[in-house]
Subunit: 370 residues, 4 copies
């Protein structure tokens, strides 16, 4: 098969590699129909993630079709269309039993395109398949569910649920990139009173308004704290969601939060931040961190199925899976291209932003069974 292989910092290629095989009785082999690229793929390519070794296939988000299952797999069958979660769950360890799959200590967690081969490929081996993939509800397209692999549950669980968003709340989302937009989108499931998006780029703030922000603040030229205080009777936001990953934005969150409020960190941080305990100690503030568990995946799928949630606006660009290298270029230059998420299709059917219809590059026959 063909796949996008990491060859060390700055180096990647779409190339031919051996087909994956069943290694454990709990494995499944899934033909990838649709995949996408995540900001953490770019981190790996920069060399920031040393545990990812050269030779690893990248990618941890996909929708596909089961082509083979191990002897212990009972809940999915060959031919099933499944969403592959970015988080693998062994289903057996203490953390998986608490539905904290992101902390899986039994061989799961974030492993795809990280410590094992990933999903920007024509085929993938999916460990612990029974507890790590989800049937795609009938009638939904790949694109409608693809972003439930990672970005939606990440924003929803680590941002909205950790932040405890309740009806009527003022929610400040700091950072209006894809993950901040997903927080804005999923916060609306809990009907906050107002959503305030804060970012340095007007283009991202414009997107934030499209995704449901009521107020936007460009904190490059506006005083975010003063504006938030003005919008909240001087109290501060009920919930602040950090969706950037640098010390300044985290500290902004702890400055604009009201007494008794909650700061939910979603951003990926490379440096420590300053925590102003000299003022925060009396303010009844709760701060949370977390990796996504994807335990809300069934709920998010149900909401999409019922028409309550529509992640499709994230799909700004479409590529054939074989053109993944080109897709990386577009996604990596998001500031210029306006890319939120790219869609990589094994069987592309043509889209207005690319025009061309590309023939599928690989169509494995459906083989194997228990």
């Amino acid at each position: 098969m063909n796949a996008l292989v990491y060859h060390g910092p700055g180096q990647k290629a779409w190339e031919t590699v051996p087909d994956p095989t069943i290694l454990e009785p709990t494995d499944a082999i899934v033909k990838i129909d649709t995949s996408t690229i995540c900001g953490s793929d770019l981190h790996i390519l920069k060399g920031d993630v040393p545990e990812t070794k050269p030779g690893t296939i990248l990618g941890h988000e996909a929708v596909g079709t089961v082509v083979k299952i191990g002897k212990a797999v009972t809940t999915i069958a060959v031919g099933d269309r499944v969403l592959i979660s970015c988080i693998t769950s062994c289903g057996r360890c203490r953390f998986c039993k608490e539905a904290k799959y992101g902390l899986c200590s039994g061989g799961g967690g974030w492993i795809f395109g990280h410590t094992i081969d990933g999903l920007q490929a024509e085929l993938a081996r999916v460990p612990f398949a029974d507890t790590s993939v989800y049937p795609v509800p009938d009638g939904l397209t790949d694109e409608q569910v693809l972003f439930v692999s990672d970005i939606l549950p990440t924003a929803y669980e680590v941002g909205v649920l950790n932040g405890g968003v309740e009806p009527g709340d003022t929610v400040a989302v700091v950072g209006a990139g894809p993950i901040g937009l997903a927080a804005i989108m999923t916060a609306q499931l809990h009907t906050p009173g107002q959503i305030i998006a804060i970012d340095l780029a007007d283009a991202r703030l414009e997107k934030a308004r499209e995704f449901g922000a009521d107020v936007t603040i460009n904190n490059g030229r506006e005083d975010a704290i003063a504006i938030v205080m003005g919008l909240t009777g001087g109290l501060g936001a009920d919930v602040a969601i950090e969706a950037v990953g640098v010390p300044d934005t985290f500290e902004l969150c702890t400055a604009l939060i009201r007494p008794g409020g909650r700061v939910a960190n979603v951003g990926v941080h490379g440096k420590c931040a300053t925590l102003h305990l000299e003022t925060l100690w009396t303010r009844d503030v709760t701060i949370t961190t977390g990796l996504v568990d994807t335990n809300t995946t069934p709920k998010l799928l149900k909401l999409i199925e019922s028409g309550r949630l529509d992640p499709s606006p994230f799909a700004t660009h479409h590529f054939a899976l074989a053109d993944t290298v080109e897709a990386y270029d577009v996604f990596g230059a998001a500031a210029e291209t306006g890319a939120l998420k790219v869609v990589l299709e094994a069987h592309p059917v043509g889209h207005d932003d690319r025009g061309a219809t590309v023939a599928p590059t690989y169509a494995p026959e459906l083989v194997g069974s228990r």
Copy 2:
């Protein structure tokens, strides 16, 4: 009457001042029977609390007898023995309605001995009496309930409840001064599996064992993180309670916590701390801060009444109220005197640690009514 009056940094005196009077229909006047001294009284005396003006009577913990009530007071009557909470609740503002009395925006919060005259006095005016004092259950002595004014609910609410202590948990309490000991005592209401006390002083760790710690670590000479990891299968503590108030101890808490655990800050901080988001961002950690609300006061009183909780071991020294200055000396030199809490008695009856029986210095007739 006589009272302990603050006269600016380093200066205080037990002196005669005018009797307090009813200023608002929701006020009560309470004759103080028993009071005590808190670490924050020492902070004020050092000059660290600029909003406390010279001329203010200190103290925010007491048991007394109601001698007069305003016309709007309905739930307490003249002659009632009451516990006065360190936190005053207006009962009307948004925060009081959420039982977050420590954040009261209607004139309450921590005001006694801070922004209004306090309780180290023979008489005190108690604002919002209906919502700020608690009847002392029949049969309980002043000393049994006195520490429910502040130290017990502070440790219980801000440490144990914010920390979410559950049966079987490993709870690390960093700091074994009075507030840390109160956390150790009240954590046992939720039956943790093990309580680990961490401090630099062996004498305090010895006390920690007396109060219920299962394991003690002197982190001046022992590696606290390594020991906690060893006791928890390498995971870390389920709950860490910071009971010191300096950056190092806070950072220790965030280092010894397990993935998915909770750090509850109780310490009073004067400086910022470093938050290692570069490691914590993936670890599903919850960090809380808070001022006590004293909304658990009725529960704590009930537990004392039923014999499930006994705060009397905190009472290490007893003084006549008139000897409050001397009591400050003993309490302020806790490292030498071993004082945890001193008991200031308007009607001392003699105790083995002081010997003398002192006549009450003031006994106001019970006068006034609605």
Copy 3:
């Protein structure tokens, strides 16, 4: 002033009565601008509520203007526009401190038009005013907030919140009268996956669809249990809200609930029901009952202010306050008139469903102050 006075079963009159006066320092006198009628007013008129004595002014829902306050009232001032809650909170008893105002044991609870004079009047005495009225947000009309007196918080707290509605849930609302419709409306704050309304009357089911039900079942001619099971993969509803108040509908709720689901009773019951523990004991079902506490009033007002919630569709008919008797006729014959809630206006300005503009019948000068 004039008011609607109850004179025993079946008897009521709009008549002149003495103006109310301040009796306690915590009282306020409020000029009623807008009021409405509740199903429980009809119960009283039927003689079903013996504790309501002849001579009592009826009504427990109103928006008005403060004209006088007692000496202990601090949070509202003469001239303020306020929403009067159907539940009075003393703010001091154990239950009020837990925000369970409906259980107030300090003289509050449901008292208006029940055990004291009510709000279908030109003026009303409001006890415990600080904790029992809410300022109307600027820019909102009386009609926009009027139904937050009772029907909205009742449906939201006792139905939706007790029922624990979560995003994606299947919510079955049994009974599509005003309270069931309010449950359908407020359930949407939590974005359920589907709302199923069940009733015997097609006209009410049509209303249910207008208010947001996704599916309607006429259980006079359809098999509600079978349909619900069909819509939920054979499991049953996640949440069932009983909004009728008879044994059959309650038992239907316990029959169509899924294992692990929640049945929230909102209906006013006059008879016992059968609880099928022989099947329910293994099914992890939670059943709740409750009187409204109105502790969500500030949240609901905020949601209306932010445009997230619009109760105005409940206002089907408008009357001058002086025409309250006529309004009772229309409201009491809801099956024929289609009345959901009637609006009683002290200063009616004319509405298309009644046509006439009636001059205000009473306009007290704004007098009195602390």
Copy 4:
């Protein structure tokens, strides 16, 4: 091997049957070291449980040693001492993912000695072994952990946790048989203010006091409601735990509960009960039912290991496993024998209540591996 086989109502025998074998890759074979008898075994023998077919080996509680594992089993190894839970969890279905193992829809739930062969046997096949057994902590005897198979988590989860017992609460436990006693024992993990045991038999109430009840009421000759009201200032119990399973005791629970309280049903019911909604509808009462999930098993084991919980007082009688029939006689006549739980030992070592030391009847060599 030998096992206790059900042969239809009233008929059972300890007899030789074929050894169990691995049927699925997730199975394990466990040599039973210690087992016990449950009240539901008696129900089956009475013929009350039609889904249990003649020929089934009874029993669902045991401690044993793993002798063989299927190819997909990863977390336990041959030779491990394990506690077998009464509830089997597939680990894959929606309910198992929510830790509601009692509702498992993937082939688990209560199956041992019910729909598949059980644990009163020398060997047992354990399906879904990774998610259905728990390693016995080092240093604990079989008898210390045996009752964590069923009775302890049942009382703790379905009674204490569903009942929401909090420090200081008044907890009424109706029924002082083994399950009621287990509720009394485990309620203490949350430090209630008082535990009131209610039963018709003085002998059971005497046991209740030994297990930690503060007050006992014989409701055959005492007025339970009046006494509970007297002990709670007229309010009623905060939590009522039904541990009998007949309509009268359930209805007693709903009568003695305070407004805002919780009734947790643990009893196994064969008939419907009357729910007095005509009084309960205003009382903010929560009623729960449930089958045990055993999701607290790790917590309970940790508490036993740390010495906080000691279930050994339940072990009133000891038998050799080969004498299981005799043990049934003693357990079935609990009113006369005073039996709480009997201990069935494959390798009995002699106990003062039986005297004799019996040689093990079966000692399979430890064979097999992945």
